[in-house]
Symmetry: none
Subunit: 184 residues, 4 copies
DNA sequence: GATGAATGAGCTTTCATTCAT
DNA sequence: CATGAATGAAAGCTCATTCAT
């Protein structure tokens, strides 16, 4: 089992981080041990601790990556509102998006909350992420309270992940429309 | 060291559960081991496994208790709306309430989400809790979408625990008022 | 391999301590790991940490035992000087004693010095031991400087363990006689 | 971080050895790893193993240096006895000398004993050192038993490092005077 | 019923050493 | 020459769980 040659493995570091996120999503931060990750990434155990001397270095790097990945599509979309479309619709679709990715994001989000409540550097990571998310919201929807929209969207997403049938696209749309005035 | 007499400890079971919740709040589900709890509750290690044969029995019992405790004030309050007061105000105060208890509840909530995403019986526990919370909301605010209100309130509470200054009482009030029509 | 039944192993604790001293003598404090000791004592690894939660607990217990064992023969000998014999002779024999035991004692002594220079509780253990040794010396040889005799005897013993031929019985006797006036 | 330029580091080898001795004094042979030393000496890890292929090469070189350093002042002092001074006094001062250096020497001595008891090449190193020390003693104090004086001085030094108040200058002087006849 | 003792499994981390560049 | 990257081995320690008493 394993790749033919492990020597000179460029971006091994990046692969370890990506794998870590997968393992956390699948088995929780608690289940993401050096061993489980090293097996999943097909990397020797000694290599893990070489690149990430402590487990927290690794977990933190993984969540840094998570917040970047999660944010970038939202950020790079358009620089300004799209004239042709109701910009509120993009938020609706974000909450309602289905599939593995969405569920995975919610799982990782909950894990990150747990860490943030316990250790300040994770709390700070979340705050940075929130600030960036708010900036993106403001760019799309000037004039609304971005903190509120962000929080509401997250609350809906979290609940929806447990009881999807109660948070249909329609419900989500009505909620967001009640909070955001229609564009001129 | 310890209590003078451990014999005849009537509600030891209940005390273990309460202590477990404390330990989870303080150190996470991960840090709530038989040992840490037995020390915190001043109960012999062997007694722990006697009352709760597996660790999950204990953790689950603790979260059952948590959802009951958290819900009861809201539930037992008044059976119907209070004529003298805007019923929306009670929700505002719930989100905005400060102090240890609120923070503790958010921490435990996040821990419970993590478990719910991983194991079905925790997911089911959360759903039951949500259903009860919605019933209480409906009782106070007939005609509103209780699922939405519950989700929004939770989203606000979670964000507020990380960035309190951005979710003032006023912000919360305005958000809820936008979603709930004023009582007649 | 091993004993037929490990359950109910009375004085397992004592056996672990004795084995630890053996392993330290054979392979140094550094080589006395939970694993090497558990194998030498035919005790499961988990049992080691049950009885001695930290490695230092174990090493310290071993050296406590060492200082007691080393001291007791000297202590319990006679309550007062023996009229028939020159009491200085006993000291000479202690230094000159041959065989595994003596070498082992010197090895353990050196290991203990290393610990004492680094951690106060070992330093204090050595001081207690020295005090008891001095008391025994004073009992046998009233009027002499017990601290000096103790130090000299140790210096001779240490050097003798490396270059035995240069510290014959005669050399040792002459040295001690020069420091201790002949009994009346 | 570190020195501005590591290039062209002439006596890097010597600096590594000196640093190794410092690290051993501070943290023991056990704590003197390639890593701790490379950091303390601000030398790349790869450079350590280049100059000293095995850890023992390094430790042994350090103790060779130690025995030379410790000996040289005694050796190079005067070629013969100083007419003006009681030569015994120099020994007294050596034992009684205070300060970091003395303590450090005792620590390193104990560490060296531990190695000497375990591996022959360290034992031989100590014997060579002892022979040189004896020659120096004989040069200063012709006619005395240098092995005895050396051993006694060491015993006093070792005990003094643990219980300084019991080995005052006076006690040490009296002891040595009892063993060494006054010069003519 | 209650509990101290016991233990196998597994975790994080450190380390000496090797080697491609 | 010099060195960063790599890695197998082993260390200290924690823990859920079992079980004899």
């Amino acid at each position: 089992m394993g790749s033919t040659s492990r020597r000179s493995d460029p971006d091994r570091r990046a692969r370890i981080i990506a794998t870590t996120l997968d393992v956390i999503a699948a088995r929780g931060v608690h289940g993401a041990t050096y061993r489980t990750i090293s097996e999943a990434a097909d990397v020797p155990l000694g290599s893990m601790t070489y690149h990430f001397p402590s487990r927290d270095d690794l977990v933190f790097a993984a969540f840094e990556r998570f917040t970047e990945d999660l944010f970038s599509p939202l950020d790079t979309s358009t620089t300004g509102p799209d004239a042709d479309e109701d910009p509120r619709e993009r938020l609706v679709q974000m909450v309602v998006a289905d599939g593995r990715d969405r569920q995975r994001d919610m799982v990782l989000l909950a894990e990150l909350y747990v860490l943030a409540f316990r250790e300040e550097h994770y709390a700070e990571l979340m705050r940075q992420w929130m600030r960036r998310a708010r900036a993106a919201i403001t760019r799309q929807l000037p004039g609304v309270s971005a903190p509120v929209i962000d929080a509401v969207q997250e609350g809906l997403g979290l609940h929806r992940s447990l009881m999807p049938e109660d948070y249909t696209e329609d419900v989500v749309r009505r909620t967001l429309h009640a909070l955001i005035p229609a564009p001129a």
